[in-house]
Each structure stands twice: as structure tokens, then as C-alpha cells.
């Protein structure tokens, strides 16, 4: 009888292989606009990253990438991590991740152009690869896309299963003259995300991130 019980215990401990951890995990991809018009806001990326880290658990994934002239590249990913199954290791990973992001913010150079679409494509690719159950793309930007000559970004984006959240969308000087530009910009991005099957949100008050994640 004792042997049977021990076998049952062993079987119970061996069963985790049957349940993939990705099935309930969350994937977060934070895009940080480093263009000249937004570079002063980059410090807020740290606040958002730390908030996201407190919310994420073991087996969740996170990546922080910058938006610059050409963002559809792995080189723009500043830090990425998939947290370990063991909570203690996950905590160590979180501390290391926070340190990397802090370092980036201290040394972030301004970019001449803003390739938001490229960054989104990279985010979609990263999160799809992680097979997270809940996928969230956070964009810390003024949402004003400026492409350098030769970059083609007029392509449809597949946002099925994605939540896209625009954070701290600051108003440009021109928006103050004509607010329709700001509203039109946001509407354009909303339409683009929703057309791709995603869910669009805007959070401008970074002191109230409770709804995030």
C-alpha cells in the first residue's frame, strides 16, 4: 500500500509534462519611442517596465524594444526574458531585467525617425513565437510615425488575440494648433489595430496603470 501511494505521488509529480506552461502565460512587449520628439519621455519606460514586472509570474514573457528609424529587427530589442518555472529564479530574472532596462534608459540615443509599424511587426512576431495565451503590446509613444526613405510599412498587421495599449500619448506642438491631428492619429491607429483583429486602448495617466495586465 505504501509503495502504491509513493508511486501515485511520483506519478503526480511527473505529470507536469502533460500541461504546457504556455497555455496560461502572458506575453508583454513594450515598444519605447526614442525619436527626437519623444526622447524626453523615455524615462517613463522604466516605470512601466517595473509595473509590468510586478504583475508577471513564472512562465510569462516580456521584452522591451526601442522604436527608431527601422524597428523591424531583433537588434532593437533591449531586453527580453521568459521567466522560469521556479519563483526564486523568476525573481532573480526580474531583478536582472529591471537593471538592463535602467541601463538602457540612461544611455538611450535619440532616433531621427519613428518606425512604429516595424516595431509592431517585431512585437507580433516575438509574442507569437512565445505562444502566450494573453498577448499585450504596450507602445510608449506619441504615435506619430515618420518613416525614412525606402522603408515600406504599408502592410496589413495581424493583431488577432492581441491587446494593443498606447501609453502616454503626448500631444505635439502641431496638435495644440489643430487637435484634430491628435484625434485623427489615434483614430487611425485604432482602426488599424481593430482591422487586424486586435483590441485597442489608450492610457495617458501613468499613475493609474491598474487596468494594465
Amino acid at each position: 500500500m505504501t509503495r502504491t501511494l509513493l508511486l501515485l505521488l511520483a506519478a503526480a509529480l511527473g505529470l507536469p509534462a502533460c500541461a504546457p506552461p504556455q497555455a496560461r502565460s502572458t506575453g508583454v512587449y513594450l515598444l519605447v519611442d526614442t525619436s527626437g520628439s519623444y526622447n524626453r519621455q523615455v524615462t517613463k519606460a522604466e516605470q512601466i517596465t517595473l509595473y509590468a514586472l510586478t504583475r508577471l509570474q513564472s512562465a510569462d514573457s516580456i521584452a522591451v524594444a526601442r522604436i527608431d528609424t527601422g524597428s523591424f529587427t531583433e537588434k532593437d530589442i533591449i531586453a527580453k526574458a521568459t521567466f522560469d518555472d521556479r519563483p526564486s529564479t523568476a525573481n532573480a530574472q526580474k531583478r536582472a531585467f529591471a537593471s538592463r532596462v535602467e541601463k538602457f534608459i540612461d544611455q538611450s540615443p535619440p532616433a531621427p525617425y519613428t518606425d512604429i509599424t516595424g516595431g509592431l511587426l517585431q512585437a507580433i512576431e516575438f509574442l507569437n513565437e512565445k505562444r502566450s495565451a494573453h498577448k499585450e503590446i504596450l507602445i510608449l509613444s506619441d504615435m506619430k510615425e515618420e518613416l525614412a526613405k525606402g522603408y515600406v510599412r504599408d502592410i496589413p498587421l495581424d493583431f488577432k488575440g492581441f491587446d494593443v495599449v498606447a501609453l502616454n500619448v503626448t500631444k505635439l506642438r502641431s496638435d495644440n494648433f489643430d487637435p484634430r491631428q491628435y484625434l485623427g492619429r489615434l483614430d487611425e491607429w485604432r482602426a488599424r489595430v481593430e482591422k487586424g483583429g486586435g483590441h485597442w486602448r489608450v492610457i495617458n495617466d501613468l499613475d493609474h496603470l491598474e487596468g494594465l495586465l
Binding site: 500500500m1 505504501t2 501511494l5 509513493l6 501515485l8 505521488l9 503526480a12 509529480l13 505529470l15 507536469p16 502533460c18 500541461a19 506552461p21 497555455a23 496560461r24 502565460s25 517595473l50 509595473y51 514586472l53 510586478t54 509570474q57 513564472s58 512562465a59 518555472d85 521556479r86 519563483p87 526564486s88 523568476a90 525573481n91 526580474k94 531583478r95 529591471a98
Partner: protein, 477 residues
């Protein structure tokens, strides 16, 4: 066909309604006997069906009652056998303990009595020596010698005084020796008194036990005879045991929950915190399995010690194997308790690590300060982790009581439910019969006109027949 169209077959709706009413009443009157029969048959069938069902339920209740009675008597018999067995074991222990000391006590008593006898003999009072000079004095006094006699008497007097003093000294000495002997007898008396007191106590204990055994045997015989009084006592005892054991099991469940909380978090370090089996975390299931294994080990330990008797196979094992089983289960429990203590410590470490990380991420430096008295909670957690598995061992006792009393309580509840069901079915059966009668009366209600006419016609016919009989009788007369 609507009601308005029915009333239009004559130009006057009232006339149409009256004609329809007359036709309806006529139809109902013509179909009255058949309708009554149909209602009575239907009501009777329903009533009989319900009564049969009630009988069947009563029969089932009786069978359940008989079974419950058998279960109760068997449980009571077994319980009494265990009690009597235990009492006999206690009597045997008492007798063995006292009889083992009896030869020594007998020897000590004999020696004490022998010493007392010897001392008593020695302490016998020696009669004082008879005066040897009295006759000599008489003779000297009768001598006819003037002065010589007085001198002799004076010498004799001196010698007698001296002899008397010596005799008194001897007597005092002898008395002192006798008193010393008597004093020496006192411890022996006390020894005898103590020994006899001990014997008295043992005998009283055995008598008390024998009276208890007699009482239990009387109850046992009453149970064997299946007396109602015994059954009633067993039934009420069973209900009391059920509730008490349920209460203790509820407390044990709370203890299990505390135990689970202690080890669930660190288990995530061992089996991963993100794996699921169904809707439950694997770490939680693993923690629960560990606790269940501990409870199982506790059950086996109790069974091996013959404190509980849930598994007859274990009780029937030879003493040697049982002792081995006791040692093995205890060692496994000890190992589990040590693991739990380690996991409880790990829980505290992980908690601190998580708190520190969250504080760092929140930018809150004050939260990272470590309380200097934190070791108390750590030690308390470790202690609980070590003690709780052993405390859960004793769950076996209320569990056994719960399982045994559950059969009886479920039986009693079943009997009560069946009784209520039988009563309801009988009420419904009677109700169906009366409803049939009521339906017949309600059927007759709109037919009061034709029925009245019918009644009058019958009376007239009866009166006519009676008149004809009287006329015929008068004519004959």
C-alpha cells in the same frame, strides 16, 4: 368554433344558451352512471397504486430498519468485546503485577511474624525470685539467745536489703529489655499493615474491575439478545459519536489546510509554479498528495498499533510484522515531517525574496528592511511543519468512529426519509380516494334539476307501490 358562434344558431343568444345548457345537462345526466364509474375507477386505481407504493416503502423501511439494527448490534457487540477485552487485560495486568510480588511479600510477612513471635517470647515477664531468707529469719527469731539473735537478724536484714536491691535491678533491666523488644516489633507491625493494605488495595481494584466487567457483560448480553433498550442506547451513542467525530474531523481538516499553506508555495520550487493538472496547479496537488500520504501513514501506524481497526488485514498480521510496520511507518512519518519543516523554512526564504524583489520593482526601499524578530515566525513555521504530520496521525481515531457511526446515522436518516415518504404516499392515496368522491359530487352539481325530478319520481313510484300493496292487503282482509 367560438362561444359566440355557438350562441347564434337561434336569433336569440339567451334562447341558444338555454337550449345548449339543457342539451349539456341532458348529456351529462345520460352519461352520469358511466362518468361516475370512470371517476371511481380512476380514483380507486390511483389510491390503490399509492397505497401499494406506501406498503412497498414501509417494507423497504422495515428491511432498512432490520439491517440498521443488525449493524448497530454488530457494532455494539464489537465495541463491548473490545471494552471487555481491555478490562480483562487490565485485570490480568493487576493480577500479574501483584502475584509477581506475592512470594516476596509472603516471605517478608512470614519473617516479620517470626520475628514478632520470637520477640514476644523473649518479652515474656520473668516472675520475681522468691525470698529465700523468710524461713531462716523465722528460725533465728525463735532461738533463745539474747544478743546473738539481734546481730544475726541485723546481718540478715542487710543481706535481704541487698538482695532486694539486686533483684529490683535485675527486674528493671529485664523490663527494659522487654520494652526494647516490644519497640523492635513496631516496624514489623507496620510492615505487616502496609503489606496487608497493599493486598487490600489490589483486591479492591480487582473487585472493581470485576464489577465493571460484570456491567459490560450484562450490556453485552443485552446486545446479544437484541433488546430494544440496548438498541436505543447504541443508536443514541452512535449519533453522539457521529457528531463528535465529525467535529474533530473538521478541526483536522483545518489543520490540513494550514499544513497545505505551509508547503504549497515551496512545492512550486520543486515541481514548477506554472504547470497545471486540469484546473489545479501541480504544486498544489503535490502538496496535497504529501499531506494525504502523511495521513495514510498515520492510519497505518494506528492500525499497526491496533488502536484502530479499519483494516482487518493489518490487525491480523503477526506481532513481528506489525512491529516492523510500526517502525517503517514511523520512520516515513519522521522523514515527511522533516521534509515539511524544511519546506516551511524554504517558504519563509521565498517569501522574503519575493517581498524584496517586489519592493525593488516598486522602488520602495523601506520594505527591504529585515525584522530582527523574524526568526520567531520562521521557527514557528518550521515547528508547525514538523508537528502537524504527527498531529494528523491521530485523525485515524475520529475517522474510524466517523466511518462506523456513519453507517448507522445514514441508516437512521434513510429510515426517517422512508417513513416520511410512506406517510406522504398514504396521505396521497387517501386523498385520491376522497378526490374521486368529490369529483362525483361536483359532476352531480349542474345536474341538480334532473336529479331532483328523478328523486321525486322514485318517491312517487315507491309511494304508489306501497299504496297498491295496502289496497291488496285490505281487499284480502
Amino acid at each position: 368554433m367560438s362561444m359566440s358562434s355557438l350562441l347564434t344558431f337561434t336569433p336569440w343568444p339567451a334562447v341558444s344558451a338555454a337550449i345548449l345548457l339543457i342539451l349539456l345537462v341532458t348529456a351529462l345526466y345520460l352519461a352520469r352512471t358511466t362518468a361516475h364509474q370512470a371517476i371511481e375507477v380512476a380514483a380507486g386505481a390511483l389510491s390503490r397504486g399509492l397505497r401499494i407504493a406506501a406498503h412497498s416503502v414501509i417494507h423497504a423501511q422495515e428491511r432498512l430498519g432490520a439491517r440498521n439494527r443488525q449493524v448497530l448490534l454488530a457494532a455494539g457487540r464489537e465495541s463491548k468485546e473490545r471494552v471487555v477485552e481491555r478490562e480483562f487485560a487490565r485485570v490480568a495486568d493487576t493480577v500479574r503485577k501483584d502475584l509477581a510480588g506475592y512470594p516476596d511479600m509472603h516471605r517478608r510477612l512470614s519473617e516479620a511474624i517470626l520475628r514478632i513471635e520470637e520477640d514476644q517470647e523473649k518479652a515474656a515477664e520473668a516472675p520475681p525470685e522468691a525470698p529465700g531468707w523468710a524461713q531462716a529469719v523465722k528460725v533465728v527469731a525463735n532461738l533463745d539467745a539474747r544478743n546473738a539473735g539481734a546481730e544475726i537478724l541485723s546481718d540478715i536484714h542487710k543481706s535481704m536489703v541487698k538482695a532486694h536491691e539486686e533483684a529490683m535491678d535485675d527486674y528493671r533491666k529485664a523490663s527494659s529489655e522487654r520494652h526494647a523488644l516490644l519497640r523492635r516489633m513496631a516496624p514489623d507491625w507496620r510492615l505487616i499493615q502496609q503489606a496487608l493494605g497493599h493486598v487490600h488495595k489490589s483486591v479492591e481494584s480487582v473487585i472493581g474491575r470485576s464489577q465493571t466487567i460484570d456491567r459490560h457483560m450484562e450490556e453485552y448480553e443485552a446486545i446479544v439478545r437484541g433488546e430494544d433498550r440496548a438498541l436505543s442506547v447504541l443508536s443514541s451513542s452512535s449519533i453522539v459519536y457521529f457528531f463528535i467525530s465529525a467535529l474533530v474531523l473538521a478541526v483536522a481538516t483545518a489543520g490540513t489546510a494550514v499544513n497545505f499553506t505551509l508547503i504549497a508555495r515551496p512545492m512550486a520550487e520543486m515541481v514548477g509554479g506554472t504547470n497545471f493538472i486540469g484546473a489545479f496547479r501541480t504544486a498544489d496537488i503535490a502538496a496535497l498528495v504529501i499531506i494525504m500520504v502523511e495521513i495514510s501513514m498515520g492510519l497505518f501506524l494506528m492500525e499497526s498499533l491496533r488502536i484502530t481497526r479499519l483494516f482487518p488485514v493489518i490487525s491480523a498480521l503477526s506481532d513481528k510484522i506489525r512491529v516492523r510496520m510500526v517502525i517503517i511507518t514511523f520512520l516515513i512519518l519522521l522523514m515527511m515531517a522533516s521534509i515539511e519543516a524544511g519546506l516551511a523554512y524554504m517558504r519563509e526564504v521565498l517569501l522574503l525574496d519575493e517581498m524584496a524583489t517586489n519592493a525593488l520593482l516598486r522602488g520602495d526601499n523601506s520594505a527591504t528592511l529585515v525584522n530582527s524578530h523574524l526568526w520567531i515566525t520562521t521557527a514557528a513555521q518550521m515547528g508547525m511543519g514538523f508537528v502537524l504530520p504527527f498531529a494528523l496521525v491521530f485523525v485515524a481515531i475520529p475517522l474510524e468512529t466517523f466511518v462506523h457511526s456513519l453507517r448507522t446515522v445514514v441508516g437512521l436518516i434513510g429510515i426517517a426519509v422512508l417513513q416520511a415518504l410512506a406517510l406522504i404516499l398514504r396521505l396521497l392515496g387517501n386523498g385520491a380516494r376522497h378526490l374521486g368522491a368529490l369529483a362525483c359530487r361536483l359532476y352531480d352539481l349542474p345536474l341538480f334539476g334532473p336529479l331532483w325530478v328523478e328523486m321525486r319520481m322514485r318517491e312517487r313510484a315507491r309511494n304508489g307501490a306501497a299504496g297498491r300493496e295496502e289496497t291488496a292487503a285490505w281487499k284480502e282482509a
